[in-house]
Symmetry: C2
Subunit: 392 residues, 2 copies
């Protein structure tokens, strides 16, 4: 186990009707002029925005609303939000939505006090030194942004999707009401499940030895997902299964199960190029890319994939490590298919012919990708090709 | 899953040589006149206190040292510490030791600003409204007090051991260097392992349905302990196994695996009467009491004990729930014995004839004990008797 620092200061308020506490929590964390940021019209139509703004009013605070955040949040909207926040002297941003809305809110929060274009903070040409505090009301269990210091934004001018990270962006509080996720379409539910599974896997594939405690936590969360996911696919109104998945989504990404070990985020980065180019749903892109990445890297070193296969996918100990790894990937894909996820480029809506361009973009500022397996451009070509060509 | 609030604001600084960061961290959290509280002479002899006080000096802060905290920390020493802290205008307490030292430091921290005897805050006749901030340098992986808002103190005047809880007592930071635990005697290492296992079990035995995510986390941490504990018993200097156990001890008690579910602390309370009366090591007392509690309550409802047996102790699914529960307890006792823990009153050094007095003390302010199983005094008599009489 490597040395590490861990802190999870976000106050999570979890359960039925907790969105009614939004006003109290904004006030507790010092907000007085609140920018309520959300995505499409569903949060308005469902009455959620009304519930939240009423609770803000009841707490004696001022607010403005700013909708329009999209999946794969865009730099243009962020700039509008920054402008609005500056004009309104916003001192707290409340994100109401999934990871995209929260990431967009974090970008606005960092951009308001920054004297320059916010993209500098994402292409790392400038550090984040200040940010307006952020809180969230989560409506999609997936990205884990509600408990993380991370944010990912797509720059629509150059098609690049880039992430940044700062403790200043970590939400002060996050309200998690599983009932709010019951009305999500199956596609979004399943994409969210895939995203949280991937967040655990990125931590699981480590070069650090002797990490039994965090290995077991990763495996426990994955076993829980395999148990609960089929329930919400069968019955979207299964509150309890929604609740288990929602809390899993948060723990999958607040680093509880990732401390003291190297992590490998290559699959996420491979996917980011897909959603940057085609605007595909992030989780769906991961369903196509992650199994292909495991299969490819298992040729180099099958150890971790074999342990995953044995402990999470119940693969027999009679197989050797490489056989077990491959059988584990087969079962992983079978799970993804069972919840409605795509497994190849065609099902995802991507073109094989774009692979050279995807790889070029991925290697814009880097020479190699990944830690568990250190990938060169030619490796990534092969992984994209395997993902493109996979047939059931 | 029940509604819940979760927050883990303590900054954990984990790994080799991290004790050298004590001064920096005290300063970060606002301390200027530090009371360094520790237990016996081993922290002095090993040079640990020197390392820490040097780092405090290097940070430009003042300090005084106050040793003498014992296992099952005592009210008399707490009162001395409070007096000393008031005279020195202490604004930060740094606990260097295990759970007993940390609990003692928390009591001093709450007592300094309290206008009355600190025991009021433990027998719940007064609430904790203020406390001096606390940090820790952990030297025993066991109690989890380094990340919890809890503290337990024994009142030597009446032999009562009582706990209190307040966010104000939660450490601002905790330094966890697994190397510091390598010199512990096997008895203390094993008692610590038993204590953390018990902290998970108290959360595991719940009446709340549909808690798959947290169940899997509990099971994962327990599986990790079963894997790592034999390694440190075989080789006390196995840094990596020490590291896995140390982080497990913290997660076992900061409620990561206990949110959204009822918990049952009867076994802890049954044990507190033992260590209150005989000054036995807390973990060793738990090794005697917890299996007896599981066996007794499995007669009422074996469901949870059976799941534990199957998922953690590898008991075959062919057995019915009650059979599985009993076989699970047998394996649990076998594990405890393998690390050197006692399994009955005689091995622990307690007298069967004291059982009526133990039960009387336990029911001083309560009519029933426990949640998963609601126990009356006659139930607790039977559990104590079974623990007293157990033979291998």
């Amino acid at each position: 186990m490597d040395n590490f620092t861990f802190q999870a200061p976000t106050e999570f308020v979890f359960g039925k009707d907790t969105e009614k506490e939004a006003g109290r929590l904004v006030k507790k964390y010092g907000g007085s002029k609140v920018l309520v940021h959300y995505g499409g019209g569903s949060a308005v139509k469902s009455g959620l925005i009304d519930t939240i703004t009423k609770s803000i009013e009841d707490a004696g605070l001022e607010y403005s609303v700013f909708g329009g955040a999209h999946p794969n949040p865009r730099s243009g909207l962020v700039r509008e939000g920054i402008e609005m926040g500056r004009q309104l002297h916003t001192d707290f941003i409340l994100a109401v939505g999934g990871g995209s809305v929260i990431d967009s809110a974090k970008a606005i929060a960092a951009g308001i006090p920054y004297d320059g274009d916010f993209w500098d903070l994402y292409d790392k040409s400038a550090p984040i030194e200040e940010a307006v505090p952020v809180g969230t009301v989560l409506t999609i269990a997936a990205a884990g942004s509600e408990g993380s210091p991370n944010s990912v934004i797509t720059n629509e001018e150059n098609g690049l999707k880039r992430g940044t990270k700062s403790e200043l962006l970590r939400p002060k509080f996050s309200i998690l009401d599983p009932a709010l996720t019951e009305t999500l379409p199956q596609w979004q539910t399943a994409s969210g499940i895939t995203d949280m599974f991937a967040h655990i896997l990125e931590r699981y594939f480590t070069t650090t030895a002797d990490v039994e405690a965090t290995d077991r936590l990763c495996e426990g969360l994955m076993l829980g997902i395999l148990e609960e996911a089929p329930k919400v696919i069968a019955d979207p109104h299964d509150y309890q299964a929604r609740a288990n998945l929602m809390w899993t989504g948060t723990l999958a990404h607040n680093n509880t199960c990732g401390v003291g070990r190297t992590q490998d985020w290559a699959s996420h980065h491979l996917e980011h190029e897909l959603s940057g180019m085609y605007d595909v749903t992030h989780g769906a892109g991961l369903a196509v890319m992650f199994p292909a990445w495991i299969e490819y890297t298992a040729q180099i070193d099958p150890t971790r994939a074999a342990q995953l296969a044995h402990r999470v996918f119940g693969v027999s100990n009679d197989l050797n490590d490489h056989e077990a790894a491959i059988e584990g990937v087969r079962r992983f894909r079978s799970f993804l298919k069972s919840i409605g996820m795509p497994l190849n480029f065609k099902e995802l809506g991507c073109r094989r012919g774009d692979i050279p361009r995807l790889v070029d973009k991925l290697f814009t500022n880097i020479d190699t990708e990944g830690v568990y397996a250190v990938l060169k451009p030619e490796d990534c070509v092969k992984i994209y090709e395997a993902a493109a060509d996979y047939e059931d």
